[in-house]
C-alpha cells in the first residue's frame, strides 16, 4: 500500500481522503518495464466472499481504477488469449493500493 507511484494513474480530481482506491496496470509478458501494457483487458473486483462488485476495461495504457471500501478484495483479470489472473489486494479509505497484474504472454 502506498501513495500514487511514479508513472501510475493520475489522481487529479479524486478525493483520496474519502475513497479507498485500488488502481494499477495490466501487463503482458513481464514485470517492471519488461511487459507490454494490455489495453483490451477487463479487471473485475470481487468482494471477500468472491462476489462480483465491479468491472472496468483497461485504458489504452493498461490502467484501471476502483473505488472500493476498507478490507480485502480480489482483482480478476480477463484478457484475450490469456488465462484469468486473480490478485489479492487490501484497500483502506484515505489510501491508494497500487497493483500490477501480469497476464501470460
Amino acid at each position: 500500500m502506498c501513495g500514487a507511484t511514479e508513472g501510475g494513474l493520475s489522481l487529479d480530481g479524486v478525493n483520496v481522503a474519502k475513497e479507498a482506491v485500488i488502481q494499477g496496470q495490466v501487463l503482458r509478458g513481464g514485470a517492471d518495464g519488461g511487459g507490454e501494457p494490455v489495453g483490451n483487458a477487463y479487471v473485475r473486483l470481487l468482494d471477500r466472499s468472491g462476489e462480483f462488485t465491479a468491472e472496468v476495461p483497461t485504458s489504452a495504457t493498461g490502467h484501471f481504477r476502483f473505488f472500493a471500501g476498507d478490507g480485502e478484495w480480489t482483482l480478476r483479470t480477463l484478457a484475450p488469449k490469456a488465462e484469468p489472473v486473480d490478485t489479492k489486494v487490501v484497500a483502506a479509505t484515505g489510501s491508494v493500493a497500487e497493483v500490477q497484474v501480469l497476464v501470460s504472454a
Partner: protein
C-alpha cells in the same frame, strides 16, 4: 419471450454484419467507447444525452424517441441488436427502453462488447451512416416500468429484487466500485428485497447463464414465481439486465424495472430502509 427470440451470439452477429434489416446499436456507460472502436456497421446511442430528458429526471418522450430513431436511421420493422460494455448493462437498459416504446424485434448480443473483444473479433473506427427513416413509437408500456409509489406498496407483498453488489445492498458501499462513493442518498436497501446481484446471472465473459441455472439462482434467493416482481439497482441499468433475465429469458409475467432505483428511493423522505445483509421486515 424466450432466449431464441431475445438473444444472439457473437458468431450470429458476425455472420449477419451485411444482412439488411438488422441494425446494430452500441450503448455504453463509457459513452466514448464506441468512438474508439465498434462493430462494423453499428450506430451509437448515448444513454446520457439521447435517452434522458436534459432538464427533468425522466426519459425522452415519445416524440423525442421517434425523432431520435428516425434521425439515426432505425425503422419500425428493423431487427435491433444491442450490445455494449459492462456486461451489457446499458445495452440491456436500451433493450428495456426500446420495449417500453413498443419496438417489436429487439435482441441483445450475448456477452456484449466484452465477449466480442475477448474473442478477438474485429472493431473499427469507421463511421456508420444510415438513411433517415420515419419511426413511430407506441405510448410507454407501463406494465414494465415501476414508479416509487408502487415500489413502496410492494414491500412485503411482491418480489423486490435488489441487483446491486452485496456491499451496496448492505449499505457498505453507495455506488458500484468503479465510481466514487460520495453520494447524497442514504445507504441500504428496500425492506424485504432479496439480494440477487445482477452478476450472478452472467458468466465471467458476460454471457448469460443457462435457463436452468438462472431459475435456480432466483429460486434460492427467495423469489416467489407466483408473485409480481420489481427489480432495482442504483440508476436502473443493472436492474434492466435482471429484468431481461426474468422477463425475456425466463418468460416471467409482470416483471417491472424501477429505473428511479436507489438514487431515488435512498433520497425519499419517510420511506423505510434496511441496513445490513438481512432482508428486513415489512
Amino acid at each position: 419471450m424466450s432466449r431464441e427470440n431475445s438473444l444472439v451470439t457473437a458468431q450470429w452477429v458476425e455472420d449477419n454484419l451485411d444482412t439488411d434489416g438488422i441494425v446494430l446499436i452500441e450503448v455504453d456507460e463509457d459513452t466514448t467507447a464506441y468512438d474508439k472502436g465498434h462493430i462494423r456497421g453499428a450506430i451509437k446511442l448515448d444513454w446520457t444525452t439521447d435517452l434522458q430528458d436534459q432538464v427533468r429526471r425522466d426519459f425522452v418522450n415519445k416524440e423525442q424517441f421517434e425523432a431520435l430513431l428516425s434521425e439515426r436511421g432505425v425503422a419500425n420493422d428493423d431487427t435491433v441488436v444491442l450490445y455494449g460494455g459492462n456486461n451489457n448493462w446499458f445495452a440491456a437498459y436500451a433493450y428495456w427502453y426500446f420495449k417500453l416504446y413498443g419496438h417489436q424485434d429487439v435482441k441483445l448480443l450475448d456477452g456484449g462488447r466484452k465477449k466480442w473483444e475477448l474473442d478477438s473479433r474485429e472493431l473499427t473506427d469507421e463511421a456508420t451512416s444510415r438513411e433517415k427513416t420515419s419511426y413511430t413509437a407506441s405510448e410507454q408500456d407501463s406494465s414494465i416500468r415501476a414508479f416509487r409509489d408502487e415500489v413502496v406498496a410492494a414491500i412485503g407483498t411482491q418480489n423486490l429484487v435488489d441487483v446491486r453488489s452485496p456491499d451496496e445492498y448492505a449499505g457498505r458501499l453507495l455506488a458500484p466500485a468503479h465510481l466514487p462513493q460520495e453520494q447524497a442518498q442514504r445507504a441500504g436497501h428496500i425492506p424485504t428485497a432479496a439480494s440477487v446481484p445482477w452478476s450472478k446471472a452472467a458468466n465471467d465473459d458476460g454471457t448469460f447463464k443457462s435457463d436452468e441455472e438462472l431459475k435456480q439462482i432466483y429460486t434460492e434467493a427467495g423469489v416467489d414465481w407466483d408473485k409480481d416482481t420489481i427489480a432495482y439497482c442504483r440508476i436502473g441499468e443493472r436492474s434492466s439486465h435482471t429484468w431481461f433475465v426474468l422477463k425475456e429469458l425466463l418468460g416471467q409475467d409482470n416483471v417491472k424495472n424501477y429505473d428511479g432505483s436507489w438514487t431515488e428511493y435512498g433520497s425519499l423522505v419517510g420511506v423505510p430502509v434496511t441496513l445490513g445483509d438481512e432482508r428486513g421486515d415489512a
